[in-house]
């Protein structure tokens, strides 16, 4: 039995807090506004889409070489639960200006370039721009737009905000000026001291939240509480609370479990821990599989990618999750753990029906293994949405084929948004395998989509559009393999 302690401890701006009474789904936004009257952070939507509640969360992160460092990421305070903040540094807009009121360069540039009108979204923009400013002193327009994908402004049309971001990047008066740079070492030391070494349990009445200390502890806790809700990034679960007003009890926070944060690369492929965020996984996936970097860049905004995990995207089993289709097309397997035993299964078999996955009570997704692409395998994933960025897929298609001479040898195709689960297009695959890799073959295979999918009509797209676009994505995949330019690109470079 691991030791237990009973408080969530973190640094809020320059004050250390220890909370021994925390409701399982208490949000950071309410805590800031109601408990501390830090009202600069706004609620615009309470679902992680508008960015008015953006704050930075700093935490100690191990990089690819195993070096640990203090990394600050933008997050949505509205759907971030307090329980997930242990051993972090939360920075709000009130922390930026100097004590004498002198604005931070990011803030001053927003003033100078008329980057605010009604001003309600502005603190959120300032925080996203600040996150960019900390890591990039010469951002491209692509990088700025990416940093702002999770921030909505209804007044300015964004142009002055972009100009402010460019100007601010060059303004670095001195290291002492910036509140994060100035305290980096001290905060690192304090976060090391706050690092969780034992299970944290906070319960009061029916309320209970648990932070297991490692994966074995998680397995134990889940076995004891098979009905518990596991929370990693809370980018989905957050909305169960803020929108559906669901009472979740107990809640198990896994963000602090180092083993689940690992990405292991081998010749065989990548193993991604269930707690790895989209942001953390991006570069490894992008390097190994073409188009996946660009795809991840279109999942939510930075705030969501910094919080949300690939493991959570799989475990929740949404038919419109963006990671399952490409992972299925790549032949990924998912590993689940129940107490001390693990099992692996093809990812496509994990999704049984709408809202139903092959996960037993007490079992959790531990990792996903993605096989490496072999020479001769072509791969691409395409997301189609109403709005290009920060939108949920109308459909998402992923294709992996290999050729034997000019004929199709293997084909794995999977789509999201076309059925009640992420699903392979087996009829289309069959129509391709053994056929010459020609436009004529593609045209014939397109018809097979109708056998594979009977999509629904909803607010994201009609069934007719989904089917037509799916057929056309196969054509896009073919045309790209022939070198034809068939995709719109806003910028040459990738952010």
């Amino acid at each position: 039995m691991a030791q237990e302690s009973g408080s969530i401890r973190f640094i809020l701006n320059d004050t250390e807090v220890a909370l021994s009474e925390v409701a399982p789904t208490a949000t950071l936004l309410d805590y800031l506004r109601l408990e501390h009257r830090l009202t600069g952070t706004k609620e615009g939507c309470a679902e992680g889409d508008c960015g008015a509640c953006t704050v930075l969360v700093g935490r100690l992160v191990r990089d690819g070489r195993g070096e640990e460092g203090l990394v600050y990421e933008s997050v949505n305070a509205c759907i971030r639960f307090i329980g997930s903040l242990n051993a972090t540094h939360v920075v709000t807009v009130e922390h930026l200006a100097a004590k004498d009121g002198t604005l931070h360069p990011v803030q001053q540039a927003m003033v100078d370039f008329h980057g605010s009108q009604c001003g309600f979204c502005t603190p959120g923009f300032v925080m996203s721009l600040y996150g960019l400013w900390l890591t990039n002193d010469n951002p491209s327009r692509a990088a700025i737009e990416k940093a702002l994908q999770g921030n909505l402004c209804r007044c300015t049309g964004y142009e002055p905000i972009i100009r402010a971001a460019e100007a601010a990047a060059r303004e670095r008066p001195s290291a002492l000026f910036d509140p994060i740079t100035r305290t980096r070492e001290a905060v690192t030391a304090r976060l090391e001291a706050l690092r969780q070494t034992e299970t944290i349990v906070i319960s009061k009445g029916e309320d209970c939240l648990i932070l297991p200390v490692d994966a074995t502890d998680l397995a134990r806790v889940l076995a004891e509480h098979p009905d518990a809700t596991i929370v990693a990034g809370s980018t989905d679960v957050g909305l169960w609370v803020t929108k559906q007003m669901r009472s979740l009890n107990p809640v198990i926070f896994i963000g602090g479990i180092a083993e689940l944060q690992r990405i292991e690369s081998s010749e065989a492929g990548l193993t991604i821990g269930a707690g790895v965020s989209y942001t953390a996984a991006r570069d490894a996936l992008s390097a190994a599989y073409p188009t996946l970097g660009c795809l991840i860049d279109r999942i939510g905004g930075d705030q969501i990618r910094n919080m949300g995990t690939i493991g959570g995207n799989i475990a929740n089993g949404s038919p419109i999750g963006d990671s399952p289709p490409p992972l299925i097309a790549l032949g990924a397997t998912v590993t689940l753990r129940l107490k001390d035993s693990t099992r692996s299964l093809p990812l496509e078999d994990f999704f049984i029906a709408y809202g139903r996955q092959d996960r037993k009570p007490g079992e959790f997704v531990e990792s996903v293994f993605v096989p490496a692409l072999h020479a001769g395998q072509h791969f691409a994933a395409y997301k189609v949405t109403k709005r290009r960025d920060e939108d949920i897929s109308a459909l998402l298609g992923a294709f992996r084929i290999s050729l034997d001479g000019d004929r199709v040898k293997t084909a794995r195709i999977a789509f999201g948004g076309m059925a009640a689960t992420p699903k392979r297009a087996k009829a289309v695959e069959a129509a391709l395998i053994g056929q010459p890799w020609t436009e004529d073959t593609i045209r014939k295979a397109q018809a097979a989509f109708e056998a594979d999918y009977q999509p629904i009509t909803d607010w994201r797209a009609t069934a007719a559009y989904r089917l037509l676009a799916a057929k056309n994505l196969l054509m896009r995949f073919f045309l790209e393999s022939t070198g034809e330019i068939v995709q719109l690109q806003r910028f040459e470079e990738v952010a």
């Binding site: 889409d49 604005l103 009604c118 949920i392």
Partner: protein, 778 residues
């Protein structure tokens, strides 16, 4: 002799026409600008949540609220019967809009009760526990349903006509008819609706509301409570965006907060969740336009007959003036020799649609531009050529009369369009795009130049009035208050500039104060782009009164004449003497000169007779034009806006920085309306796009990749507006009609431009792809 550091200064900070920063910019970026939810709450403040219904049209058989009331922390539950005096908040006094549904549900999500609880979280959770029994009634969700089932109107329709449209259509060498659906739009102000009601002694009630129309809130709260209007004070320092969505839609929240505050004698705050806000408040009207146009082989329009049918929702709200304004802008910048325009403000079982930046004008204009596009494709010409043929002419041309019989006397559209065509290199780029489309199979491009002519004034003439209250204190500092509300558009900044300019003092000597019904009464909504025009003039009038008194005083005290007294930077020049402004004020006070004035302004010249469809509803017109270039993917319908060039007329700008912001922001907001922003109701009449996860407004990465915006710096208003400026709030929203038409051209390329693609809006990737498919079949 003045020895201050300012002795040599010849200018002030923040005069009219200077690109002054928004007065709250510093507070915005620091997070210290207080919106209503940021204000310290009075002790014991309670919180409210709406109880929503889940039928589009039904009789309420029974409402069981016992489970709601039983939740610990719930203080009371209000229903229609709890309204002390009246359950009506219809802004046009048609008694068609209840605060809470009473006996009948008229749209899916219509509030039937409100929960008041110790915390907002408790109120929201409790609101879900009601058990309501319904008896379903037939539903009418869409405009087409409404027309098919008899077409009940929520307000009387309008007809505009001049000449003989039917006869001219029959005689025209060419004629074509078509239909277009134009989607609605959610405002998506970043700050949702909010009201905080604080009960006072006797019958007094103070309400802080995020509203564009404090006087309306004041009247509605008084009406619902059954108290005189003078018992209610409404305050608003700033809104986190309005866009028309806070012109009438805040009434329900303010009224409910006030009723609860009166009943419980505690402060009550009402801040609906975003989803409830989007469900229970109105939006931009969507329209179905039927058009019939006659023209000659060159493309001259000979006659237009068009009908504009609008989904108004269950009540009138502002649908009358909105649908009127659609007709007022169906001509855009074009002369129709013979014309008949009709509106159909249709009743539907949906939330009551309301004001939204442009107020029907954009929908009218989109229909008018579709007609131009149709003619161009029919004749195989560039739509720009058709536009030029049909622009309003000068006074002696006989082509200067609108369908509502107002003469266009300030027409500058030709100069705007010619300058933009040249500066944007339109012709060469269009030729290059046609060439590009010949050699690219999947990616296609389009370009379009579209104009805007937008009428400025409330078409309900009596609304064109405003007041301001100006005090000068004994230290020479100035207190400014007026009826305009600040929603980000910078009206507070502009009016402060007017005052600084009038007195020739630095603008930081002017204290901008929250709009309140207690200082300036009987105000009109800050709407119709009129905020700076009206309130700027009212403040100017207040300053004039005080200055006249100061001049008379100075002339007497310094033994000179009024002509020898002038206001110079931070001083008053009296004869040869420079007296610091504050010093003159101190002496004027000591001499018992009144240092306060209430200013007033009423727009001259305008009148409108709706019954005959004749008059001069607009004081002047604002003009502009845009060139947009886009690329589409003909496999998926996805698109990018590659470049936009804008030339826009704001007269002599009061503040070029703020005006540029209005143009850029209005453009992107209008682009969202025409492209990705889609309202989607299911078969039950339930709006399914009620949050930013499902309703997609533009992001930074959607804005034009190249975005060149210029003011027509040579323009000044021919009318005597404040500083000869022009209104800027709404007109730029219509510039992105150029984006829609550029998308259309890219689509048309797949059939070699032989066919008008007839894109409906919003032109989502789906609509683009389906239009491509349709044209490929031809």
């Amino acid at each position: 002799m003045d020895k201050s550091a300012f002795e040599d200064r010849t200018t002030i900070t923040g005069p009219m026409h200077a690109p002054l920063k928004h007065d709250s910019a510093h507070k915005h970026v620091a997070g210290t600008a207080d919106y209503i939810d940021d204000m310290p709450e009075p002790a014991g403040t309670l919180h409210a949540a709406l109880g929503l219904t889940d039928r589009a049209h039904a009789e309420i058989v029974e409402v069981d609220l016992s489970a709601v009331a039983a939740v610990p922390g719930v203080v009371c539950v209000l229903t229609a019967r709890d309204m002390p005096h009246s359950n009506d908040i219809s802004p046009t006094h048609l008694h068609d809009e209840p605060v809470l549904a009473d006996g009948r549900v008229q749209f899916h999500g219509q509030p039937a009760f409100a929960v008041i609880a110790e915390t907002r979280d408790i109120a929201r959770r409790a609101a879900r526990l009601a058990r309501i029994t319904y008896r379903d009634l037939p539903t009418v969700i869409d405009v087409v349903d409404a027309m098919a089932t008899g077409g009940e109107f929520v307000t009387p329709p309008l007809t505009l006509q001049r000449g003989d449209a039917e006869g001219a259509l029959e005689r025209s060498p060419r004629r074509l008819k078509g239909k277009m659906r134009i989607g609605g739009q959610e405002h998506f102000y970043l700050e949702g609706h909010i009201a905080l009601a604080v009960p006072g002694e006797d019958d007094e009630m103070t309400v802080w509301v995020s509203t564009q129309h404090p006087s309306e809130i004041q009247r509605m709260v008084a009406q619902v409570l059954g108290v005189p209007v003078n018992a209610v004070t409404v305050n608003v320092r700033r809104m986190g965006g309005g866009f028309g969505g806070k012109e009438t839609q805040g009434n329900q929240f303010a009224a409910l907060a006030a009723v609860a505050a009166r009943k419980l004698r505690r402060a009550v705050k009402f801040r609906p969740d975003r989803d409830d806000d989007m469900t229970a408040t109105g939006k931009r009207h969507d329209f179905l336009v039927d058009y019939d146009v006659g023209f000659d082989d060159d493309g001259h329009i000979l006659a237009v007959h068009a009908n504009y049918a609008a989904r108004c929702g269950f009540s009138a709200d502002l649908s009358g003036p909105v649908t009127d304004r659609a007709l007022f802008h169906a001509d855009n910048a074009y002369f129709y020799p013979n014309v008949k325009l009709t509106s159909e403000p249709l009743k539907t079982n949906t939330v009551s649609n309301t004001a939204f930046r442009g107020f029907g004008g954009p929908q009218g204009m989109v229909g008018g531009e579709r007609i131009i596009e149709e003619i161009a494709y029919a004749l195989g010409k560039d739509p720009l050529d058709i536009r030029k043929l049909n622009f309003y002419g000068d006074g002696d041309s006989g082509r200067d009369v609108t369908p509502y019989h107002q003469k266009v006397e300030d027409n500058i559209i030709r100069r705007i369009v010619d300058e933009l065509e040249a500066s944007a290199d339109y012709q060469a780029r269009r030729a290059a795009i046609i060439e590009f489309n010949r050699s690219n199979r999947v990616i296609r491009k389009g370009i379009a130049l579209t104009p805007v002519k937008f009428g400025i004034s409330f078409t309900l003439t009596h609304l064109n009035q405003a007041g301001a209250l100006v005090h000068i204190y004994t230290d020479g500092s100035i207190h400014l208050n007026h009826g305009g509300t600040e929603m980000g558009q910078g009206v507070y900044t502009k009016v402060a500039q007017v005052l600084a300019d009038s007195f020739q003092i630095d603008v930081d000597r002017v204290k901008i104060t929250a709009t309140t019904t207690g200082k300036v009464p009987n105000t009109s909504a800050t709407a119709a782009s009129s905020g700076s025009d009206l309130n700027g003039m009212a403040a100017f009038d207040a300053a004039r009164q005080i200055k006249e008194r100061l001049v008379a005083f100075a002339a007497e005290r310094w033994q000179t004449t009024a002509e020898n007294v002038s206001f110079v930077p931070n001083h008053v020049k009296i004869g040869e003497e420079l007296v610091p402004f504050a010093e003159l004020i101190r002496q004027a006070y000591a001499a018992r000169v009144q240092l306060s004035a209430a200013g007033f302004y009423a727009t001259p010249k305008i009148h409108w007779d709706r019954a005959t469809g004749r008059g001069t509803p607009f004081y002047y017109f604002a003009y502009g034009a845009a060139v947009s270039e886009v690329s589409i993917d003909t496999l998926t319908g996805e698109y990018l806006v590659d470049r936009v060039d804008v030339l826009h007329d704001v007269g002599r700008s009061l503040n070029p920085a703020i005006d540029l912001g209005q143009i850029e922001g209005g453009f992107v907001q209008g682009m969202g309306w025409l492209t990705t922003e889609e309202l989607w109701w299911d078969e039950k009449g339930r709006l399914r796009t009620h949050a930013p996860s499902t309703y997609k407004i533009p992001l930074a990465s959607d804005r034009p990749k190249i975005f060149n915006v210029r003011l027509a710096e040579w323009s000044q208003n021919v009318e005597k507006t404040i500083g000869r400026s022009k209104a800027v709030g709404e007109p730029p929203l219509m510039l992105p009609i150029s984006v829609l038409e550029a998308l259309s051209m890219a689509v048309a390329s797949v059939a070699d431009y032989r066919e008008c693609p007839r894109l409906d809006t919003p032109a989502t990737p789906e609509r683009i792809l389906m239009a491509v498919e349709r044209l490929r079949q031809i």
